[in-house]
């Protein structure tokens, strides 16, 4: 079982709240992805036209961060990674990242307004009276699948401790596909400045066009709704802001390039960025119809927003700038033709006998658990969790002895389904005109290849998202995200207790697996590491047993 322990200081809690608040403006669910040195929060909006990734660095954002992957998953995914041709692109799965999804609105009140001195948002925090001293987040995952919870403990003043036990659901990681080499246009501006300019835009306009002339940059809002005579006064306020190029720290955009994004999304991003002090927002994009990426970071929080852009006036399905691929993905994902893959994810189908014993869930059984669906070639990625699952997560403020099993969660084999479907879409012969190593969904074959670059893909190479930035090689983002370099350095508290017998057993196991499927040297190291990590996990479980 994976172990995750995070300690946050009050400032970080407030930052986390602001981040969740921003995510909540895009979607109902946030996907948590714990890796060795970072925690990723992701949200995909309902129309799949915006993807948000907020990465919390384990060393700089958190006071303490300890994640130990599920050794079973680690091992099996290692061997799995080797039996395919795509070993290089299946990295996150190899690392046994823990993923789950939660209702972001249930998370918000947990972290809301817990910090008073030097409040991030003065208006909001003026009315606050309570403060915390420390926040601990830990994952309580058990093999019997009955008491899997994410536990948030808030150590408040005067010795008060608040405990929230949050249910979570299994989730697939979806990353935005963003090709840096196409994003030839980029600009950088101070977040506070941009926020101030965006305040002039009314709430009802739909689209924001970003264009520029020789010396000026134009932000113009517009609507494409057809308004008849009677409704003419309900036409949204159309706002245009013209800024001198000098307002931008950097502005390199090909002439004649005009893109449009959703005003609401853009405003949400800028508002969140504005909660940081003096930070720079970077934007990178290609032509209209290709995604745009906005990034900024401070104190160990890295925010990356990928938005689909469009061309003004290019309405209708034939329009080249319409965010068409996104819609198609949505339709496909919701298609009822995927009951097989849903089987591992919903309660109704939980009766399907699936081997979930730790260690026994090898790659073969995993694949077989998904194959009852339609033919592999047409298999879509697992559809998103049905809306009924929104009640799946409740906040339990008190320590309750009898906790019902989370309704939607069947197995802790988080990520396994995503991996399986990943492999299928990659292996899928239906991908026409694409390399098997392409990171896109299988259904992408039906889409025009370029410039309608698809926005989303299953996560198998997301670390490239933060690829080289103009900041140079010493970019903290790069350093953080380069897992290969960092994982040996990653610290976890060895004093948690080393059960040598168990450790040895685990290593034996690993070696056994290894012999079945030889792995690279680096992966060996990882296994050894994981062997020790397991002890900590087990030890933790014992501790938790006392607590319950």
């Amino acid at each position: 079982m994976a172990t995750l322990n995070i300690t946050l200081n009050p400032v970080a809690v407030d930052r986390l709240y602001e981040a969740l608040n921003c995510l909540a403006k895009f979607g109902d669910y946030v996907t948590l992805e714990a890796k060795r040195n970072k925690l990723n929060l992701r949200t995909l909006n309902q129309t799949h036209s915006a993807h948000i990734l907020i990465c919390l660095a384990g060393d700089t954002f958190c006071d303490a961060y300890n994640f130990v992957p599920d050794p079973n998953k680690l091992l099996s995914s290692l061997s799995f990674g080797n039996n395919g041709s795509q070993s290089s692109s299946a990295r996150p799965a190899e690392e046994g990242a823990f993923t789950c999804q939660m209702n972001v609105r249930a998370l918000l009140p947990v972290f809301r307004g817990r910090y008073v001195p030097e409040a991030v948002n003065k208006e909001r925090d003026d009315t606050l009276v309570q403060g915390i001293e420390k926040c601990e987040i830990s994952l309580h995952e058990k093999s019997d699948k009955v008491q899997c919870r994410l536990v948030v403990k808030l150590f408040c003043r005067h010795g008060v401790m608040k405990t929230f036990r949050l249910q979570y659901e299994e989730a697939d990681i979806i990353s935005a596909s963003f090709r840096r080499e196409w994003a030839i246009n980029r600009w950088t501006i101070r977040a506070g400045e941009l926020k101030k300019w965006m305040e002039h835009f009314g709430p009802k306009t739909e689209h924001l066009q970003i264009s520029h002339q020789e010396r000026t940059v134009n932000l113009t809002s517009y609507t494409e709704k057809i308004i008849d005579g009677a409704q003419i006064l309900k036409t949204p306020l159309q706002t245009s802001v013209e800024l001198d190029l000098i307002e931008f720290n950097e502005f390199q955009v090909a002439s004649e390039t005009q893109i449009a994004v959703t005003v609401k999304d853009f405003k949400s991003i800028v508002t969140h960025a504005g909660t940081f002090g003096q930070i720079q927002i970077q934007a990178a994009y290609g032509e209209a119809g290709q995604p745009m990426q906005m990034t900024y970071d401070q104190s160990g929080m890295f925010c990356e927003f990928t938005l689909m852009t469009r061309k003004r006036g290019a309405a209708g399905p034939a329009g080249a700038g319409k965010a068409e691929p996104v819609a198609k993905i949505l339709a496909h994902r919701n298609a009822p033709s995927a009951p097989g893959s849903v089987g591992t994810r919903t309660r109704e189908t939980s009766a399907v006998p699936i081997k979930t014993q730790p260690g026994s869930a090898g790659p073969a059984s995993r694949k077989s658990s998904v194959t009852p669906g339609p033919s592999v070639s047409s298999m879509p990625p697992p559809p998103s969790v049905p809306p009924t699952a929104s009640r799946a997560m409740e906040k339990l403020a008190s320590v309750s002895r009898e906790m019902p099993p989370p309704p939607s969660r069947i197995t802790p084999r988080v990520g396994s389904t995503s991996m399986a479907s990943n492999s299928m879409s990659r292996d899928s012969p239906s991908i026409s005109g694409r390399q098997p190593s392409s990171l896109s969904f299988g259904l992408r074959g039906s889409l025009p290849p370029r410039p309608s670059q698809s926005l989303f893909l299953m996560d198998d190479d997301e670390d490239d998202l933060f690829g080289p930035t103009p900041g140079g090689a010493e970019d903290p983002i790069e350093r953080l995200l380069d897992d290969d370099d960092d994982e040996d350095v990653l610290g976890w508290d060895a004093s948690l207790g080393l059960d040598h017998t168990s450790s040895a057993e685990m290593q034996e196991k690993s070696v056994h697996k290894e012999s079945a499927a030889p792995v690279k040297k680096g992966q060996e190291d990882r296994e050894e590491e994981s062997g020790s990590f397991v002890d900590a996990t087990q030890r933790k479980n014992v501790v938790k047993g006392l607590f319950d």
């Binding site: 400045e193 300019w197 002039h200 003419i232 309900k234 706002t239 013209e242 001198d244 000098i246 307002e247």
Partner: protein, 297 residues
């Protein structure tokens, strides 16, 4: 049809638009050579709001031309107008102008605001396009300012922030469709009463000023047929009463709160007329007249 002007007092215009957006969604903006008038009619015909702004108080280089005697009538969404005017409320705002234009086949009032960016002191231009509908002269021909009889009571309303707080509580107590009774006399007394099913409340202010009717220039009334004697013999202590819908009264008070000086006329059992003077000096340059008919008892 042409209209173009620069705005020299955008905060005053913004204040008027903000107050009117409390009353209704849409207003009729009348522009002519001498003044600007915004009229808001309530859907239930129980109230009307007439706002009057002299051109010099707000505009510079005011240019208007139209086929119908240089008069332009526009229907304007008030909250949008207010919102766009607020864009100028930054410290670095340098100039603003407004003109009537047409974009994407929709007539618009285009507001151009020039500001200086705090960092570089370079100009930045904000353009807000407010959708409007151009009204034909005959469409607005029926719009005439209500005529009220000479009021029995004319009183300067008490401190508006206090009045607003008390009014809000009254409105909550009487609930929707509740009624609030106002009584006032020429001895400087104003009473506000609520008589709901479960509760009966009364507030009384004393020592208020009673300005002479017609002391301020733009107030209009219809002289009654009765002789002056009758008016003069009226006892100062006699109360005149109006009954108004609680929500309407709450709106009246909110509009009042934006003004510098407010005079209320109580026409016994007939109407409540509130004159709100918006300008900093409390002068006649920008006023809002709020007419509410008294409900039957």
């Amino acid at each position: 049809m042409r209209f173009k002007a620069s705005i020299q007092n955008i905060s005053l215009l913004s204040k008027v638009a903000g107050a009117l957006s409390v009353v209704g969604k849409v207003g009729v903006l009348q522009l002519n050579d001498e003044f600007v008038q915004i009229i808001v009619l309530a859907a239930d015909n129980q109230s009307q709001v007439w706002s009057h702004i002299t051109i010099d108080a707000v505009f510079l280089d005011y240019k208007i031309a139209s086929a119908s005697g240089n008069v332009i009538n526009l229907e304007v969404p008030l909250d949008t107008l207010h919102r766009s005017l607020k864009s100028a409320q930054t410290a670095s705002f340098t100039s603003a102008s407004i003109r009537l234009t047409k974009k994407e086949n929709i007539p618009r009032l285009s507001l151009t605001i020039t500001t200086e960016t705090p960092a570089s002191m370079n100009p930045a231009i904000i353009i807000q396009d407010i959708p409007v509908r151009v009204l034909a002269p005959q469409t607005v021909a029926h719009l005439t300012k209500p005529l009220v009889p000479r009021p029995e009571t004319s009183v300067i309303l008490p401190a508006l922030s206090q009045l607003r707080g008390i009014t809000d509580r009254y409105v909550r107590m009487v609930g929707p469709n509740g009624r609030i009774v106002l009584e006032g006399n020429m001895n400087g007394v104003l009473k506000m009463k609520a008589d709901a099913d479960a509760v009966k409340v009364e507030s009384e202010w004393r020592g208020l000023m009673n300005p002479a009717v017609g002391e301020d220039g733009d107030m209009e009334w219809e002289e009654p047929d009765e002789s002056e004697d009758q008016l003069n013999t009226q006892e100062k202590s006699v109360f005149s009463t109006v009954r108004v819908d609680s929500k309407e009264w709450a709106k009246v008070v909110r509009v009042c709160a934006t003004g510098k000086r407010v005079i209320a006329w109580l026409c016994n059992n007939h109407a409540l007329v509130v004159y709100v003077f918006m300008g900093d000096g409390g002068d006649n340059n920008a006023t809002i007249n709020y007419y509410v008919s008294s409900l039957a008892s």
